[in-house]
Symmetry: C2
Subunit: 377 residues, 2 copies
């Protein structure tokens, strides 16, 4: 059995753990470099020692953002299947999110004996037909621990000030919702949490912050990068021109920081968690890492046993297979019962999320005491 | 002996470790809440269990930014010394940076029997007469580990792109220099490192990045927030007006990101490490934590033994006392021998910095597996 594995889409803390779960259990495995796009150019590698993969964030094999054409008679498919034949591939495992499952769906619908299985990963947790997705637990833990640290930092002065934390999530607010776990006690910061699932009312936001500034000193607020008004316009994305004539883009956090300063005359700052929330090794959740490895191994077994056109999913902590054609190009949003009054997160979400961040992972360090990662040389 | 301790200035990962070193070793100790400013209003607390202080970032006692007047006959001094008398204080330990040492200097020059000792802390490492300063080692480790993770994240795609990381340091580039430790091998990213010690030439920067884009895909560059042109104008701080008419401020990273996109038409993004670099518990250096505790304990002993008007300093790994009047209001910059061609960091810095980030600290976790911090209730 010749196995081919690829990674696609944005990095997570545990996408390499899924790779580990496959490579460790396969007899002969090749890796696509830079996903299906690199593979089209014949870029593949063999694997050597893979232990460090389990604690290396990012995408060891490199990634791509490459959508295959809808028309399965497009010549790119012939080219791809020639490549598969060139390397005598029996099954293909593709680790990725929504767009990557679209790739698995299309390839599995082509006429061939090759088995195609999708291994889910995304920090956004927005894949449907699975309780949750590997990558989310570690990102959620990063958000919870980091917002807790930001609250500690914001609390040192005795003067009222607002800190807006901008968290990834364009359409689904799962990751932003995880900021609720930062609270050390009932009533602790963050005091307001806004997800893209709810229309954002700027005036109501200003009123709420104004009220908080009369009661608290460190007013910490978390917002999803994808918050939008009732017409669907993103609150982020305001553009302007600086003194030098350069165009400037601002995210939701920066926009609201400037707005509050202008409207309320208060001290305000914003912190964009940025790429760190998807590439932090130190906040890896042991549960997330374990499940990512399991997902890889389970997908491998499924392919070997002849299954094709499925994605590995999680249901009550167990792996199962779901039809990849039903998964791709859909999004799972945070349900209403997890959101309170459009600006807070309910116990239902906390109960859902806590098991996913459980357990910590020791990241091996190099001779200087810094996190040791593996990389393609 | 009645000891009074306060914290002042920006938070660090280990300012509470210095507090621990004092509280643990003193017979009777009171804490000023929000530094000298809060103490003026009579805000003090007693201490209970202090074990968690060692692994709690921020400033447990709260901080202030409050400069005492130059004129020692100003009535605020009489008010302060009345407060000292009210609590029957014998010695005062003040943990802080430059401005806080100015406070220690002034108080020690007032006519009284009270002993005043300064305990150094700053992530900027810019205090003079000491080899280094508690707080720097942990912040440097955060920068090194985090830039390494950002490089991992930036390296997943096969398309050339620039990532600019903006690191704290308005006048001294020590912390930005620590990004050199992120390299996993010789020649690894970050490829360019700019400190405020060297005038920043925008055109030369664009030329260098253009060249790198022809050789590499993930062009990661680190800049200090305080980089400035040869006239002393900050590269950051460009202002403009967004579409909604709100004033916008941009830091060095955001400014250079926009500039590169415009000049080179390349993909570019910027990451501001922001407050996380000074409040991350998980990157605490054991050396830094140990020295912070030692500095507190050593300062306490000095005060008890009758010394006043000194700051605790580090010299060959040992604590000593230096005249606080000579320390305050001065800045230690990164010396020339640690900077290469204005855009890289030398082995001299690496040899200097590596011992300071040595050793890791286990941060206790709560029942949910999140970092457990102590806080004033």
């Amino acid at each position: 059995m010749n196995v081919l594995v690829g990674q696609s889409g944005g990095p997570t803390a545990v996408i390499n753990s899924s790779l580990y779960g496959i490579v460790k259990n396969a007899d002969h495995v090749l890796g696509m470099v830079n996903g299906i796009e690199g593979f089209l150019e014949g870029k593949v590698i063999e694997f050597d020692d893979v232990e460090l993969l389990k604690t290396t964030p990012g995408a060891y094999l490199g990634s791509c953002r490459y959508m295959l054409p809808e028309d399965l008679s497009d010549p790119v498919y012939e080219k791809l299947f020639k490549r598969f034949a060139e390397f005598d591939i029996d099954c293909v495992l593709y680790i990725g999110g929504n767009d990557s499952m679209d790739t698995v769906s299309k390839l599995s619908r082509c006429d061939s004996d090759i088995k195609f299985i999708g291994i889910p990963k995304t920090i956004d947790n927005d894949l449907i037909m699975t309780d949750h997705t590997p990558g989310f637990g570690s990102a959620a833990k990063y958000v919870a621990n980091t917002v807790r640290e930001i609250v500690v930092d914001a609390s040192v002065y005795d003067k009222p000030a607002v800190t807006i934390v901008e968290i990834m999530g364009r359409h689904a607010g799962w990751l932003t919702a995880a900021s609720v776990l930062a609270r050390k006690f009932k009533g602790d910061a963050p005091y307001l949490i806004y997800l893209p699932e709810v229309d954002f009312d700027v005036d109501d936001f200003v009123t709420k912050v104004d009220k908080l500034l009369k009661e608290k000193t460190a007013v910490v607020v978390c917002v999803s990068e994808g918050i939008h008004d009732s017409d669907g316009n993103f609150i982020c994305g305001a553009t302007g021109v600086d003194n030098f004539g350069h165009k400037m883009l601002s995210g939701a956090g920066k926009y609201l920081e400037n707005l509050l300063r202008e409207k309320l005359g208060c001290k305000a700052r914003s912190v964009e968690l940025n790429v760190l929330q998807r590439c932090s090794a130190q906040n890896m959740s042991l549960t997330d890492q374990t499940e990512a490895i399991e997902a890889g191994a389970f997908g491998l077994q499924a392919a070997i046993s002849g299954k094709s056109g499925y994605m590995v999913a999680f249901d009550n902590g167990e792996c199962k297979l779901v039809d990849v054609n039903e998964v791709c190009n859909k999004e799972k949003k945070v349900p209403e019962n997890m959101i309170i009054d459009g600006c807070d997160i309910s116990q239902d979400f906390i109960d859902y999320c806590l098991p996913l961040i459980k357990g910590s992972v020791d990241v091996p360090v190099d001779e200087n005491g810094l996190n040791k990662f593996c990389y393609r040389s």
